[in-house]
Symmetry: C2
Amino acid sequence: MTSPRSGLRERKKQATRTALREAALRLALERGPDNVRVEDIAGAAGVSPRTYNNYFSSRAQAIVAAVTAEREARVAAAVAARPAGTPLAGAIADAIVTQYTDPGGHDPAVLLLITSRPDLRGAFLGTAASIEHPLAAVIAARLGTTGQDLAQVLAACVAAAVRIALERWLRPAGLSPAASGLVVPSGSLPDLLRTALAPLTPAIQAAEKAAAGPGRPAP
Amino acid sequence: MTSPRSGLRERKKQATRTALREAALRLALERGPDNVRVEDIAGAAGVSPRTYNNYFSSRAQAIVAAVTAEREARVAAAVAARPAGTPLAGAIADAIVTQYTDPGGHDPAVLLLITSRPDLRGAFLGTAASIEHPLAAVIAARLGTTGQDLAQVLAACVAAAVRIALERWLRPAGLSPAASGLVVPSGSLPDLLRTALAPLTPAIQAAEKAAAGPGRPAP
DNA sequence: GCGCAAACTTGCGTGTGCGCAGTTTTCCCG
DNA sequence: CGGGAAAACTGCGCACACGCAAGTTTGCGC
């Protein structure tokens, strides 16, 4: 499922993709994001600048991808790993918190880098949307054949909630006008994620109940 | 609220913005989207090409903006217009369906134009996100001071659901090579919107109850 | 092994997005 | 009514994203 075709070709592709994003992050940290051109990134990865654009559609995307990696696949896998009996809402929240809390073995200075530039901020928040499709597939598997459309909506909502949580997380660093002290400055990321995901619990529970009722699917 | 500063300056700004997007749409319909350059759009609106980019960050955005106009503000206003007693979920759904069903006095050929090019499709779906902030403000007003964060999440989810509905709406046109007849996707747009928004009802109701809870006893 | 088809890479050219600094227009208050 | 400040418009320049049409590599069946 995750690797429909495993051959030399596919491995090479993943290798260049990884090399590309690692090079992008490393150079951005070394020189600052404005002093690195796509030419440099491509050169460091050993490919042509044109090929770079076959993998990433913007510089910010490549840099951010080095941090987020294949987080979306891991979230989906973690949700799928929970036994079928456990409540879906909790499984999703746990999986997301776990995967987003994992530092991923990267320099903490990366966060400061991302929060500093608006385009990097935007690209980082955009990565939250990437969990939508994998998550939709997993939720759909839970809900059965009757809830495909429903699963898509729920996954989109989860992705949206995650994005909100990330926004709040790096808001203080983004802009710090006189509004300090009005709202809670910034909780920990796990807390922010759970707070943002909590409102969706009723919707997810209702979906589970609706799917279990009329369908009674027997695979 | 909608016009914090109403002066000559602000009116001129709106005028150029409108001229810009109308010109973009008209030229795109006349020549096809690939045969229109920003230089042409800016020229037709009577401004410099550089100024064009001060209003829209891409060509697709300008074209699509001519269709969506200030839909987000109208949705928020419609929700705010409902009396305070009415259930929030229904008010939101009604407002969205009403505003998105309104043709806006535009050529039906526009839809075919938007569905044909991927970048226009993307920009069109992106407009769904623009209802997020106005809607968050309105929902926050309903929920009171305790539910600011909650309102933001709910608004994001509503926006996400609307995007899903729009995706489904113009999905068949985007993929099927079948030249057979018109773009009649699976279901009318109002139905798709209500279907996509329905799963959120439990979450919205729970939010209403939670907001009303601390203040007064639950029924 | 062999050769063909599909997938990937690459160079080129074009239009585009946007930062920057200077000029012009609008605002506002004394 | 005048003058200074803030905001918007504009020209310039640069790097970038991406379509296109080659050339190159991988996969696969015979």
